[in-house]
């Protein structure tokens, strides 16, 4: 068992971000800063697509990096760094938003006060006019988001990774911490459910 783990760890030693994490583990704080700068944007967007609240997404993204920092002592490169850090983010999304104040905020929030990217805003800051196409796209985006929010949490996460990040079932499984067969089943149910919801809204056939 130990030998198998060692082989797996060796496989991931070539990942430059695993190298950075190992350097951080060895006491090089600058390596942590590089990882933070590289992953804060993608992780923020991943979490934001899930929770649809900019402030909460920022707090949870920061929490991901705090956990990376705290776990540096016990870190072992058993996966690609991106797989590892997204798994932390996934666990935070599934657990932190299930309980406590975030659950309350998500369930009872009105339009996102902290966010201006998803809201219908007829006046563009640059052009002062939004085209019909832009308004239709924003409306479609809002409907899709509404449809996603009707799905169970794990299905929603799997769909975000499949549709927006276009990951394979195997990669989704690695990020969610479940088997490829389980992902296939989750994606099957969730995509058919999403298609049904969007079909009712006239967005798809």
């Amino acid at each position: 068992m130990g030998a198998v783990l060692e082989n797996i760890e060796k496989q991931h030693h070539n990942d430059p971000n695993v190298q950075l994490m190992l350097r951080f583990q060895g006491g090089e704080e600058g390596a942590f800063r590089k990882l933070f700068e590289e992953y804060r944007g993608p992780l923020l967007n991943f979490i934001y697509r899930y929770c649809q609240d900019r402030r909460i997404a920022e707090e949870l993204t920061q929490e991901v990096f705090l956990r990376v920092y705290k776990s540096s002592g016990s870190y072992r490169p058993e996966a690609m760094f991106s797989t590892w850090i997204y798994r932390i983010a996934t666990n935070i999304c599934l657990n932190e938003l299930r309980t406590g104040r975030y659950k309350y905020e998500i369930e009872f929030k009105g339009p996102d006060e902290h966010d201006d990217s998803m809201q219908y805003d007829p006046v563009d800051e640059r052009t002062k006019v939004k085209t019909d196409e832009q308004m239709a796209a924003a409306e479609q985006q809002r409907q899709v988001q509404g449809a996603l929010e009707k799905l169970p949490k794990k299905q929603r996460l799997a769909l975000i990774l499949s549709i927006y990040d276009q990951l394979s079932y195997r990669e989704i499984g690695q990020r969610l911490g479940c088997s490829e067969a389980a992902v296939k089943s989750i994606i099957h149910r969730s995509k058919l459910a999403l298609r049904d919801i969007l079909k009712k809204g006239g967005l798809v056939n």
């Binding site: 394979s168 079932y169 099957h188």
Partner: protein, 170 residues
């Protein structure tokens, strides 16, 4: 959905996602071409997969500053924890050795005795009147005729005269 569709139903999503094993792809394709119901499902699923990306957001201006502040707190807590752990390990190493054990037993006994001393019941406070009388004991001792109870009845007058006498002498 037709009965003939049911055996393909479970493969449609994986087919659209390109995740279906090669040996099943051809069969599903043939069925989809012939079945309008499954063909509509496939078209809908393709549209789902082609949904546009939501607009990307950038971390706010405060994001980095807030993170590094939080991290500073974590570092401080870790340092305090490490310091505590060091003391704990030193104490553990000391108290588990035989010499340390007897010393610690003596120390514990000492602490027990000191605690008992500190927690002893306090003396009852003297009533205020008795304290005042005690303050005037000197005067009582200098009275010439202590047997005469009348003198005690006029004690306050005698006390006043004594004070005047002392003032004159002073």
């Amino acid at each position: 959905m037709k009965i003939s569709c049911m055996k393909y139903e479970h493969d449609l999503v994986a087919y659209v996602d390109g995740e279906l094993p090669a040996d099943r792809v051809a069969r599903v394709e043939r069925h989809v071409q012939a079945c309008s119901s499954c063909s509509a499902v496939v078209a809908g699923l393709r549209q789902v997969n082609a949904l546009p990306q939501p607009p990307l957001i950038e971390p706010s201006a405060e994001f980095d500053r807030m993170f590094w502040t939080k991290l500073a707190h974590v570092r401080q807590a870790q340092q305090e924890h490490r310091g505590l752990e060091r003391w704990r390990s030193v104490a553990k190493a000391f108290f588990t050795r035989p010499a340390g054990l007897s010393l610690s037993a003596g120390l514990a006994l000492g602490v027990f005795v000191v605690t008992l001393y500190l927690l002893r019941p306090p003396h009852a406070a003297l009533p205020q009147q008795e304290v005042m009388v005690a303050a005037d004991l000197d005067l009582y001792a200098n009275l010439d005729v202590i047997e005469n109870s009348e003198a005690l009845e006029h004690f306050e007058l005698i006390q006043m005269l004594d004070e005047l006498e002392q003032d004159e002498q002073g």
